[in-house]
């Protein structure tokens, strides 16, 4: 049997924000690979082999997924949000590329998901109705200088800016450095909004802030 590898986005958390394409891919799979926290979200699926792993082990996870698929398994790799936005798609294609695996050997399918930015925006009203930038504050894969220069460019050009991965155990002070950059380069009326658990009770709560954004927590 020919295996398959599908990288799917589970969206921000609410089950009703998982697309039917992803639900079908999970149903059709034999093996589900992912960060243990995301595997938790699909554990209801019965008769599947689950392969949970730690957050940082992207490349190991990619190799495991590819090997399972090459062995004939129908593998689904789960990401939170969208798999292309600072998530598993990059790691998988990096390994596919490095191992010179052709599309005939292993077709890889990516199924998009609702990334946190879209869910957060929905709860806020319409904050990204104009041009916006999405920046990963993790500097695991790029230098801090590049990161900072991008924040400056985005602030000066008056983009709405969404930051992903603002803080972690090993990156405690970077966010305040970014605030300094923003203070220097943004207009004084720039609003800062902190969003988490953006899809809880999404259908009933409506937008969180008034269109004028009064009451928004400011930096």
């Amino acid at each position: 049997m020919k295996g398959s590898l599908t990288i799917v986005g589970l969206g921000p958390g609410a089950p009703e924000l998982i697309t039917p394409a992803v639900t079908d891919a999970l149903k059709d799979s034999t093996d589900i690979v992912g960060y243990s926290k995301y595997i938790e979200r699909v554990k209801d699926a019965s008769g599947k082999s689950f392969h949970p792993s730690d957050n940082r082990e992207e490349i190991d996870r990619a190799e495991l997924s590819i090997n399972l698929a090459l062995q004939g398994k129908k593998v689904v790799v789960v990401s939170s949000g969208d798999p292309g936005v600072f998530a598993m798609a990059s790691a998988i294609f990096e390994v596919v590329d490095k191992k010179n695996i052709s599309r005939d050997d292993l077709p890889v399918v990516v199924l998009p998901g609702i990334t946190a930015l879209l869910a957060a925006s929905a709860r806020l009203g319409a904050p990204i109705g104009h041009d916006f930038c999405v920046i990963n504050l993790s500097d695991n894969l790029k230098s801090w200088d590049i990161l900072k220069s991008r924040v400056i460019a985005a602030a000066k050009a008056d983009f709405v800016i969404a930051f992903y991965n603002p803080r972690s155990k090993s990156r405690k002070n970077q966010l305040s450095e970014i605030y300094d950059v923003l203070r220097k380069n943004c207009k004084s009326d720039r609003i800062v909004i902190y969003a988490n658990s953006v899809s809880t009770d999404i259908r009933n709560t409506g937008y969180i802030y008034t269109p004028r954004y009064s009451g928004v927590e400011k930096n």
Copy 2:
């Protein structure tokens, strides 16, 4: 009966990329408002009143939706992709704001959708694994100078850049002007990809280009 107003994203085209949250909202509605092309996509729904209109009539559409909801209708406004990304959410909140309609008078709910960028990325592999910008090339709502300065800033800071609304009947020459800006400000190995109909047969086709992007149509 108290009305409601829900602004939903239908995703890029494939029915299997419409979230269950949106499907439920459509089922629960009495009235569906939107650009006629998007209304076409939900016309199967029976027993609903449909209110199609032309593409450019965002504010009229917003006013109609709000009025219907204030009359007690359960109104769903349909957008393609995500309603917050250069779509109907902005127009609705603009009118809600102008008319000083409070959240108690009319709860407005926004339900996110798969925006074209995410669907295109999924088909391409992992092009937005790093920082990216999303720029609306329509200058209906901002000056051409602001638009150009943003493209320059994004190119210089080496963001991946996604352009929406690249061309229209009334904007025929702007795209080539943007190409000039990109030629001046991007590294020479910058890849340009044209994407449309990004969700056709999404589960079976897999990614379109190899991870090395060989064979990609270059500008």
